[in-house]
């Protein structure tokens, strides 16, 4: 699908301009958004030390012609001029930014599109032509048009034009469409700068303010009193801050547990606040009825689907914009209920992106239908089918007489065990559990009911039990671009002990949860649970010594929800794109255009992600591809060569090995 994008850029910018810069681990490219984000993210065409990834410009893939090395990226992305603009807007700093953004991710994965060849053709006629065609475009065509517009813009920027000039330029070309495209583009910019991301609390954003929002916004820091007050004014949920906060975690929100629920329940019947389905999901998050990355994400998407179904566009408003604002307000409500997971952030981006890209020509009902089917497809392809693929991969790693250890209760891992059991494999499961949630007990119950032999223990005993374990299967909330696994708290300990005992650790994670951010420790971003949960001791009243803990100001209880697992503890990452080693190269295939060309984004452990075009040579065993990419180190371009083991039948990469430095 990337093929589609390339040609226009070339046309627009005179052939050299990188039209899109895709970052990080993106499952599938969303043509529209991908390109932009990284530009802001990389203040660096010039300086090689930036931690951010600037993939070298993607060169258009030659048509299915025989592959050759001519595919290499040619020039560094022109990010710097863009950055300047961004910085010049620094003073306007409002915190109603886009939400999901605290986990702003690379473009939401796009859904595979069938007719790529057509696209390449349509692309050639972009700009003006598109105006004429607008009324009845196929999806692919629409996208092509947007691509071309974007390309035009990028070109303009390249040339050093001011954004306004560019905008006007664009608008002369094509009625209104460019503007929407542009706003989305700017948002992306806000969201991508890596250590940053952006504010969580969002509200509606007045259209004219949009333009000034170019500064990369930092994630909401809850120890910033000023912004917290501002955010509070907008919030639907009234909540009081918990007592005895831990100093180290002042930057994260923590509210007294249980204070919000009654208040929210009483508001349930007020009609104008929220769509009821969204409201319901929010309450379920709050009460903990829905937990787990996939479950929360699906629940949210279904609620949005329903909300979109019931949506009616107010007069004199533009659907794209109004609906985006609506969704943003829903999202900020959900955040108040519980901070978003990365997977939710990613899917919100996907949805918003879809909304912004709706052609104006679509009628309201058509647009709604299209969005709903997009949501359905997202759920199906990125979550349900992805899980199935992961299961099918992971099951091959289970042999008879294995002892498999898992921690907590990850839905994918459970599916893997179920499937392996159905296949008749004889294995034993060790369920390691931790306080205060005891998720493992629920998993244990389900596994035992299916007749799988289980051993249950708590996390402290993990070194005791690890002697007999042959594989560790873990779930993840997200995988960050340095290969770090962000997951439920305790995962790092389990992985560490397994590593110390030489037991392979397999992390199962759907690719839509991948995120390009880098996090060095578990403190800078995390989620705080209810501290009272720690003071409650199960079963034995005589053991609870901390009942009135909040009365003493020297005593704090800390209930962390997540931690990060360094990539060197992880032996293998199982994703819907195959099984990958996280340490050296977390690799995700953006899309495979045909059998001969792969476009993949590679993130090295310490280097930025790159885009590279692969030429695939078929060999006896599956297909072997050589991939060349530029990695920038200390301002010197260094070419790295990889051997990529790619299986066309499964459309997945099953191994990547760095060959040698050139």
């Amino acid at each position: 699908m990337d093929i589609r994008r390339a040609p226009p850029s070339r046309a627009a910018s005179g052939g050299v301009e990188p039209r899109f810069r895709q970052v990080g681990f993106v499952t599938a490219a969303e043509p529209a958004r991908g390109p932009v984000a990284p530009a802001a993210a990389s203040p660096t065409a010039s300086d090689g030390l930036s931690p951010v990834m600037i993939p070298p410009p993607l060169i258009p893939v030659p048509a299915p012609a025989p592959a050759s090395e001519s595919l290499m990226p040619s020039s560094p992305p022109p990010a710097s001029s863009y950055l300047l603009e961004v910085i010049s807007d620094l003073d306007d700093y409002a915190d109603d930014d886009d939400i999901d953004v605290s986990w702003a991710r690379p473009p939401p994965p796009a859904l595979p599109e069938p007719n790529k060849r057509d696209l390449t053709q349509t692309k050639n006629e972009h700009g003006p032509t598109s105006v004429a065609q607008k009324p009845k475009l196929s999806k692919a065509e629409r996208r092509a048009i947007q691509e071309s517009q974007r390309a035009a813009k990028a070109a303009a920027k390249e040339a050093g034009l001011k954004p306004t000039a560019m905008a006007s330029d664009a608008s002369t070309k094509i009625s209104k469409q460019p503007k929407t495209a542009k706003t989305s583009l700017k948002k992306d910019v806000n969201q991508v700068n890596p250590p940053v991301a952006s504010d969580k609390k969002t509200g509606e954003r007045p259209p004219d303010k949009d333009r000034k929002k170019d500064i990369p916004q930092s994630r909401m820091q809850f120890d910033d009193a000023h912004r917290v007050v501002k955010a509070k004014k907008r919030s639907v949920v009234s909540q009081s801050e918990a007592r005895n906060r831990v100093e180290l975690f002042r930057h994260l929100p923590q509210y007294a547990h249980g204070t919000q629920l009654p208040d929210l329940e009483s508001k349930f019947l007020q009609p104008d606040l929220m769509h009821p389905s969204v409201y319901k999901v929010g309450l379920q998050y709050l009460s903990g009825d829905i937990s787990g990355g996939n479950a929360r994400c699906i629940a949210m998407l279904l609620a949005f689907r329903e909300a979109i179904n019931d949506y009616s566009m107010p007069a004199e408003k533009i659907l794209n914009r109004d609906l985006t604002a609506k969704i943003s307000s829903y999202v900020s409500f959900l955040i108040e209920c519980r901070p978003l997971s990365i997977s939710m952030g990613n899917s919100i981006r996907f949805l918003k992106n879809r909304i912004t890209k709706l052609p104006l020509a679509l009628s309201e009902s058509e647009a709604k239908v299209s969005l709903q089917s997009d949501i359905d497809r997202f759920i199906n392809e990125k979550i349900i089918v992805a899980d199935k693929v992961i299961v099918s991969h992971a099951v091959t790693k289970i042999r008879d007489d294995d002892v498999l250890l898992t921690f907590g209760s990850a839905s994918v891992v459970e599916m893997i065990f179920d499937h392996a059991h159905e296949l008749g494999k004889k294995f034993r499961v060790v369920v390691v559990d931790s306080r205060p949630n005891h998720e493992g007990q629920r998993l244990l119950r389900r596994l035992v009911a299916k007749g799988i032999s289980c051993t249950y223990t708590h996390i402290n005993a993990v070194s005791y039990i690890m002697h007999e374990v042959t594989r560790v299967f873990l779930g993840a909330s997200s995988v960050l671009s340095n290969g770090t696994v962000y997951s439920r708290v305790g995962t790092a300990l389990v992985a560490m002990v397994a590593h110390a005992f030489g037991v392979p650790v397999l992390v199962c994670c759907e690719a839509y949860k991948f995120h390009e951010r880098v996090q060095l420790d578990s403190i800078c971003f995390n989620e705080l649970g209810d501290p009272d949960a720690i003071s409650r001791v199960p079963r034995d009243e005589s053991l609870s010594h901390l009942k009135n803990w909040a009365e003493n100001e020297n005593l704090h209880l800390l209930n962390l929800r997540y931690d990060i697992t360094p990539s060197d503890y992880v032996s293998m990452l199982i994703t819907d794109y195959g099984m990958l080693p996280p340490t050296s190269v977390p690799v995700i295939v953006i899309g495979s255009t045909d059998m001969d060309h792969l476009i993949i984004v590679v993130g090295f452990k310490f280097l930025p992600a790159r885009i590279a075009v692969l030429t695939v040579h078929r060999t006896g065993h599956g297909t072997r591809a050589h991939m060349c990419t530029y990695a920038k180190s200390k301002a010197v371009y260094q070419q790295l060569m990889f051997s990529v083991f790619y299986s066309p039948s499964e459309n997945s990469i099953f191994g990547i090995r760095r060959m040698a430095d050139w």
């Binding site: 119950r445 708590h458 560490m496 720690i534 005593l555 800390l558």
Partner: protein, 387 residues
Amino acid sequence: MPDVQPLVSDFVLKLKRRKVEGSHAVARQTAELLRSVVSQHRMGSSANQAAALADAVRVVGEQLIAANPIELAVGNIVRRVLHIIKEEDISSTAVGIEGLSVTVDSDDEYDSEHDDRPALSAAVLAAHARNALRAPSLQTLLEDIPVSPAISRTASSTGDSDGKSKSAGDKSSTRKLKHDVITAIGDLIDEIDSCYEPISEQAVELIHQNEVILTLGRSRTVKEFLYAAKEKKRSFRVFVAEGAPRYQGHVLAKELVEKGVQTTVITDSAVFAMISRVNMVIVGAHAIMANGGVIAPVGMNMVALAAQRHAVPFVVVAGSHKLCPLYPHNPEVLLNELKSPSDLLDFGEFSDCMNFSTQDGSPLLNVVNPTFDYVPPKLVSLFITDT
């Protein structure tokens, strides 16, 4: 002997039923029991009273050790008492020798020809006695302990020479030996009780202003150690991992807060997340083995691994009654104890699952609830003991 038998069997029963747990309590009670064993011991008129006394102690000690093999403190205390008997015997002999150096010299030949032991010159004996009179250092303890069979031999041979050189059945010297041993055991008990003081004296050297300490579970030694630092006006923060499923960390947190120490309770699973901000890990131990490995409350190994990963010093504080001269073999299994599953799972909730069984009769659901962890020596940065 009959007088102490009920006491011994009572204590054996307590150990077996795990009514007495924890190194400190066990060590103290063992020492007290042995003191009464010694005091009840009827000194025969035979030449080698010391050997007879040592045998009596050893018999009781073996029963106690068998009652709860993982309470290594029992064995440690029995060895210490045997050591005391030997020391007292040697010192009394040495006193005798000084008076009768000529006799001893003349005895030498006799000794060396009928005994496999190397000849004891008066000088050697005196050196040995001096050694014995010094407070037992860690080194001498560890060096001497494996020699326990030799103790009896030393005792018997010196007893022989004693007997030869003096008139047989010198009641006063026997009574003196017994009395000395009892006083020494009393000192040992005092030492066990007060082992926290010399340890916590070192707190100020290790804990500085604004440090962040992490500990797991509760150990009285750790508590005293932190108290001592607090009393020296050091302000520091403590993360306490709660130590599920016994939640001793909650108790420690409560105690620390009472002294005004800034305390944060975290779940055990959050240890890895927090350890990057910790300056030092200070933990207690159940026993310290001869190779430097530590038998510690469950969960300690993962804390030690996490500390190593982040280059955080891992400090073990333990009284000398926890120093054990044994070498661990497969300590995770052999020096461990599995507790009731009810700590982890509600029987009510899972009782039906527990009944499930596969064709071969093994249950479908196992619950593992070990008490101890073994921390290999390479993960420990520092031991702090009272000697």
